[in-house]
Amino acid sequence: MKQHGTCWLLGMWLFAWASCLSADTPGDEAQTLHLPAQAPAMKALSLDIYAALDMPQARPLLKAFHQRYPQIEVRYRNMTTLSLYESFLRKPQRADVVISSAMPWQFSLANDGYARALSKDVLAHWPARAHWRRELVAFTFEPIAMVYNKKLLTLAEPPRNHAELLALLDDQEKALTGRIATYDPARSGAGYSYAMAESRLSPRYWDLIAALGRVEAELNTTTAQTLQGLADGRYWLGYNLLGSYARAFVEKHAELEMVIPDDYALVVQRLAFMSAQAPHPETARLFMDFLVSEEGQRVIAEQTTLGAIHPDVTGAGSAAAFRVGAGGAMRPAEFDPQLLAALDRLKRRALLSRWKREFHQATHTVPAEK
């Protein structure tokens, strides 16, 4: 059955995407968080959040919210983006708020009318580019970065941008063979969406892919795999890692260094929406309000590595600070219906076949796509 085949493929791909985003979570940590109401005498209020946002990042945010509204019982479920998407579609009336970094999927849900619009005054201060129809709200700012091991310094200066990376790969083809790691767009949703965005930004992207192919770059499915390889010294340079997770990792490993390219840096944004069939619309509205409030955004900036985008939050950990650091090279993924194109099955096949053709150019052994 062709239809089943497609579904299975999509499922695998989503799973790959999801696992890469939750890679930092230690396996033994609970994937649910339950914050009971502090004043049980009052009317019981509760809130169900379905999210693909790892506990270390989510916990400070939820705790701050719970401190603000102690009468609300918060139930948080962290899932992979795949199971989040599927379980939400199965029971859209269960979740109050849905948070995920799988932008095309979130966008698809909002486009299909599963999200409820927030009121105008809640988003009055919010940048127009960071919400869609007031239904879908981008509330983080997570740049895509390169991470290198300091062993690279024995060979050359670390690249500061894509052009320097391409030059480095061309110059040191022999020395770097097998020392570079990046996402496999065929197996990872994140890698696929970066490939799609980058291919549209510059035609020289394909030169870079060809160069990566020539140095026989390792193709991984998660940021965690690549980070671990870099820490182990197996890889000297990792290309296209999720900055919010890499930053926390690099801070713990002195031999690693993170570079945000200064020509362009892709930016991933977590998207949150309130379910149109939310069982607790009032508390859901309070949470969304909190998420975009200065208070909530300050928690994101100070206690997580997600990057706050509230225009009044300007200190370290804010989008404004990232932008200043990168000299205006930040390229947030277009937050509009163009995202839907990523979900087109033919589009995906077309992009992947091009990608493989370029990557395997050097070896002239283009394996047929499955």
Partner: protein, 458 residues
């Protein structure tokens, strides 16, 4: 302001109602135009999006292939941030790709080779969407397979644009309406100004004056002025008639009174009782005639009084005829005139004022007795209800027949009659809406007077 009470209000209402209806019609038209304009503007997005998707459709690996241009979706969404949907369908109607399975256009006939683009509004998955469907075919070297690109977006932007367009039309129409009503007020004021002038002119007149109104007026009011002038002319004639009547009456009364006075004076100079007796007899006859004249003058005045209109009652003509006959019988016998009756068999019922009816009968009989030679017949008939009186006297020449109805006109100047009898009968006939007809009697001689009660049921 009740329309019936004010001409101004009437004019305003009858002019503003069509204006209001016209305004509503314009607003409705403006709404439709706004929607058409919004659809035209937004349909370009559908057109461009389908075109840019259709351009990317190829034949690859034995099937249709689409490298979806993301900008097509962005374009389709537009500034209004519409929800967007697209579907690619092959020549057999199979779904190739898309983020939704948009429904087909019901118009399936359009299967010729040309590139066609269809639009339609529909309610789909609980959303009001506009769907654009492009039917075209591959432009490859060999392959010319047909395919269909369907795109749809929600209609919020269209609604907003249409509403905005409509509001601007509404403002324009409203402004025009206010202006027209202001002009209307001025126009009505200007048009009614001559009426005010006429009113002032009439109010300023001397109440005794019956002179015609001389005022330059617009045509419609000039007609009114003419009517008023005609009325005034009639009043002048009536007054002249009244003056003449009073003059005639004074004259008629003065003559016998002067006679009585002269006769009395003459008698006073004489001494013989026989001569006194003769004088008294003459004075008696003259004063009786004068008294009768005064009575007739009184009743004529009473009849002509327009303020006096007694309610008619239903009476039988025959009863009144018989009563009049009994009253007049001795006088006829004394004058040796043959008085006959020829009444209808059944009662002849008419609406009349009884004393006026009696007055008319007495005057008719009195007249007939004086001028009717030897035979007088009084009668009635049922169809139509009428009473008639016929004599075999000298009659009245046809050209004289209208004249004798005027007061103090006598067909013959023999000094006996007062000249008021037929005028009274005529007045009574007019009061009853009856027709008074004078014609020749039987065998073409004598006079027949018929009083026909029109529109009466026996």
């Amino acid at each position: 302001m009740t329309p019936a009470r004010s001409l101004y209000g009437r004019l305003l209402i009858w002019l503003s109602l069509p204006l209001l209806a016209l305004g509503s019609l314009l607003l409705f038209q403006a709404w439709r135009d706004a929607q058409t304009a919004a659809d035209r503007a937004f349909d370009r997005l559908l057109q461009a999006a389908t075109l840019s998707i259709a351009e990317q459709v190829q034949w690859q690996d034995g099937q249709l292939w689409l490298d979806l241009p993301p900008t097509a979706l962005k374009m389709l969404s537009g500034k209004a941030q519409e929800r967007v949907f697209y579907t690619l369908i092959d020549d057999k109607g199979r779904y190739i790709t898309g983020n939704a399975r948009l429904p087909a256009h019901p118009d399936g006939r359009n299967r010729q080779d040309t590139d066609t683009l269809l639009y339609r509004n529909e309610q789909w998955r609980g959303m009001a969407v506009r769907e654009g469907i492009r039917r075209t075919r591959l432009e490859g070297w060999q392959n010319h397979k047909r395919f269909e690109v369907r795109v749809a977006h929600t209609r919020e932007g269209r609604k907003r644009l249409a509403t905005r367009l409509w509001w601007s039309s509404f403002a324009a129409i409203l402004g025009m309406g206010v202006l027209s009503i202001a002009l209307l007020l001025l126009a009505v004021c200007a048009a009614l100004a001559p009426l005010t002038r006429l009113r002032h002119a009439i109010r300023a007149r001397n109440p005794r004056s019956l002179a015609p109104v001389a005022l330059t007026l617009p045509r419609e009011l000039a007609e009114l002025r003419e009517v008023i002038n005609q009325l005034l002319a009639r009043m002048r004639r009536v007054r002249a008639n009244q003056e003449r009547f009073i003059g005639d009456a004074s004259h008629q009364l003065r003559t016998p009174l002067a006679g009585i006075s002269a006769r009395a004076e003459l008698a006073l100079r004489q001494t013989s009782p026989e001569q006194w007796y003769n004088a008294l007899a003459t004075i008696h006859v003259t004063s009786e005639r004068t008294s009768r004249l005064a009575t007739q003058l009184l009743s004529l005045t009473r009849l002509d009084n327009p303020e006096y209109s007694p309610a008619p009652v239903r009476v039988d003509l025959n009863t009144h005829i018989h009563q009049a006959l009994l009253e007049q019988w001795p006088a006829f016998r004394q004058a040796e005139i043959d008085l006959g009756v020829d009444c209808a068999d059944a009662p002849v019922m008419v609406d009349a004022t009884p004393w006026q009816l009696d007055e008319a009968l007495n005057n008719l009989l009195d007249n007939a007795r004086r001028y009717g030679a030897s035979r007088v017949t009084l009668g009635s008939c049922r169809e139509p209800p009428a009473l008639w009186i016929e004599d075999n006297g000298a009659g009245i020449a046809p050209e004289q027949r209208l004249m004798v109805l005027r007061p103090f006109h006598r067909a013959r100047d023999d000094g006996h009659g007062s000249g008021l009898g037929l005028a009274i009968v005529d007045s009574i006939a007019r009061n009853h809406g009856a027709r008074l007809e004078l014609s020749n009697g039987e065998n073409g001689c004598g006079l027949c007077i018929t009083l026909t009660f029109i529109n009466e049921v026996a």
